[in-house]
């Protein structure tokens, strides 16, 4: 009985780690060894898989594009979401509850439900297949979660803070930027990490809106469908490593913050 719990835990941990580790391991194997056996070792390691994936399969461009899209979206999303959440929590007016409800309701429905009209809108405003268009869509579809979480954090800050600062002569903006935003820092961390990971991995909207310039997940998915018949599994595995490494690195560095962020929508 005493060993049952650890054994159970370790079995599940192995089922998680083994497939991931196998992909990392296979990313430095030659295609011949990949087909030969999952356990065959290529010596010296076939680093050229990464070179092929990065250059020939254009995943390098996709990697940089994803980095740009994620960064830009975060830079626009966090201020915009904070402003909305703050105004909706500290400046209640008739209809502010309804607005909050409508904005957060977006979390219930998968974004692809609106794929057809969203695509048509992007074409109409001339932003389909552009960086700006994708960033705008990402910001719009990330607002629900961001506002939901930050609204919780701002609501928890006492109203007296604002009153005290106003008596000291602080305007609305300086109260928001100098007092409230620093106090909401834990919430900002949560939405920052959650969105950064989600956007780096995002697939649905990029798949619909981008035809020429691909993000890394879409680039990898296209590589999979092209190369599975050509048999270049080496570059496929290398591509998977490219998409996983940044997130897993972030996780290992900021373990507690990432765990907190992943659960934040659920428990506060």
């Amino acid at each position: 009985m005493r060993y049952l719990r650890p054994i159970f835990m370790v079995i599940f941990a192995l089922s998680v780690v083994l497939p991931v580790a196998w992909v990392f391991f296979s990313s430095v194997k030659s295609n011949m060894d990949i087909t030969k056996s999952p356990f065959a070792v290529t010596i010296p390691p076939a680093w050229d898989n990464f070179e092929k994936a990065w250059k020939k399969q254009d995943l390098g461009a996709a990697f940089l594009f994803s980095l740009m899209v994620t960064t830009l979206t975060i830079v626009v999303l966090i201020p915009l979401g904070s402003m909305m959440a703050y105004a909706l929590s500290k400046y209640k007016f008739k209809g502010s509850g309804a607005i909050l409800g409508i904005v957060t309701m977006g979390m219930l429905f998968p974004n692809l439900l609106a794929a057809v009209p969203l695509f048509l809108t992007m074409v109409k405003i001339g932003l389909d297949d552009t960086l700006i268009g994708l960033v705008m869509a990402y910001v719009a579809y990330s607002l629900s979660f961001t506002v939901f979480v930050l609204h919780g954090f701002f609501s928890a800050l006492p109203d007296e803070l604002g009153e005290a600062a106003t008596i000291d002569g602080a305007g609305h903006w300086s109260l928001f930027l100098r007092v409230m935003m620093p106090l909401a820092k834990p919430g900002i961390w949560v939405v920052l990490i959650f969105n950064a990971i989600g956007l780096w991995n995002e697939y649905n909207l990029a798949k619909i809106l981008m035809l020429q310039q691909k993000t890394l997940p879409v680039g990898l998915s296209d590589l999979i469908s092209q190369q599975q018949y050509a048999g270049d599994w080496g570059s496929i595995f290398a591509g998977a490593v490219l998409v996983m490494v940044p997130v897993l690195t972030l996780y290992l560095v900021l373990k507690d913050k990432v765990q907190q962020a992943m659960l934040a929508g659920a428990i506060k």
Binding site: L4, F8, M9, V10, F12, V16, L18, P19, V20, W22, S26, I34, P38, L80, M83, M84, Y86, A87, Y91, I102, V103, G106, M107, L108, F109, P110, L112, L113, A114, A115, V116, P117, F119, L120, M136, A137, A140, L143, H172, W173, I197, Y203, N204, K207, I208, P217, L220, S221, I224, W233, I236, F237, V243, M244, L248, Q259, M262, L263, A266, I267
Partner: protein, 293 residues
């Protein structure tokens, strides 16, 4: 006073308007327009839109793809998701606590939630693959067309990947819920001799009600919204056996080029989502502990 009011209103408007315009233009309006577009026949940006009433819905009704998609999402929701939650609950009971091992294991469990679904899909596609796969060399060669190529094994094989991808999140969630149960409750159980299944059913489970509700909402959204995993793993093959509603919508829009039919698919999915939310609301309407205080 009036000046202050104006400044206050100005501040609130400045905070809300930019975000709301973006949200309305790219989220609300497209969702509403999906309903309108579902009554037209058109196949792209430049083609003329011809009103065709409920023809798109009739086409859906007659297509096998639609029924498989509906059936598969339903199976994920009522069969796969409960298995996923039960496994997560069991694992959470094992992995709760502050021991070094438990903390380390919990760190590992979240990996699949953090990596891109495309990478997860690739991992499982590769694991099941008949010529390069991890399973083929461990004696689990599977059917002739591979685990994902066979009509009978494709869906269960996909379900395993779905559980693998999501289990870490629910385990963490349940661990947080379990850790939130006060020590006195455990002590009282010890004294009264309640343990094992009895303790779970009569003590732990009711106390976990708020967390279980959160899990139910999350798992419903995730079950109905399966896209990337299926799109990259199988794209619905073989013969629609792993088709889902969103993947069907995507294929109708891009490969078939029937925008109206894809919008109709979206409308059906909205109804299914709303209906599921209503069922959830009824199921988790009242905390069982609240009446007893």
């Amino acid at each position: 006073m009036a000046g202050q009011d104006i400044r206050r209103t100005g501040f609130v408007l400045a905070c809300l308007v930019p975000g709301l315009v973006l949200y309305a233009g790219l989220v609300i309006v497209p969702f509403v327009r999906t309903v309108q577009l579902s009554t037209f026949r058109f196949s792209g940006v430049s083609t003329k839109m011809v009103p065709n009433g409920i023809e798109n819905f009739q086409k859906l009704w007659e297509s096998e793809q639609f029924w498989w998609a509906l059936r598969n999402n339903f199976t994920i929701l009522v069969v796969v998701a409960p298995i996923l939650l039960a496994l997560s609950m069991a694992l959470a009971h094992a992995a709760v606590g502050d021991s070094k091992l438990a903390r380390g294991m919990r760190t590992v469990y979240l990996f699949p939630n953090l990596i891109s679904l495309v990478a997860a899909a690739l991992i499982w596609r590769a694991v099941y693959h008949p010529t390069v796969g991890l399973l083929r060399s461990t004696g689990l060669k599977g059917p002739q067309d591979g685990w994902l190529g066979d009509l009978n094994t494709a869906f269960p094989s996909f379900a395993v990947a779905f559980i693998w991808v999501s289990m870490g999140f629910y385990t963490m969630l349940y661990c947080a819920g379990l850790a939130g149960i006060p020590a006195e409750v455990h002590e009282a159980c010890e004294l009264e001799g309640a343990r094992g299944w009895r303790k779970y059913l009569w003590i732990t489970r009711p106390l976990m009600w708020p967390v279980r509700r959160v899990a139910a909402v999350h798992v419903t959204i995730a079950s109905l919204g399966v896209f990337a995993l299926v799109n990259v793993m199988t794209d619905g093959a073989p013969s629609n056996r792993t088709e889902t509603m969103l993947n069907a919508l995507y294929r109708m829009m891009t490969i078939e080029g029937s925008f109206g039919k894809a919008a109709a698919m979206g409308v059906v999915m909205m109804c299914v989502t709303a209906l599921s939310s209503a069922v959830l609301w009824v199921m988790f309407r009242k905390n069982p502990l609240e009446g007893r205080r």
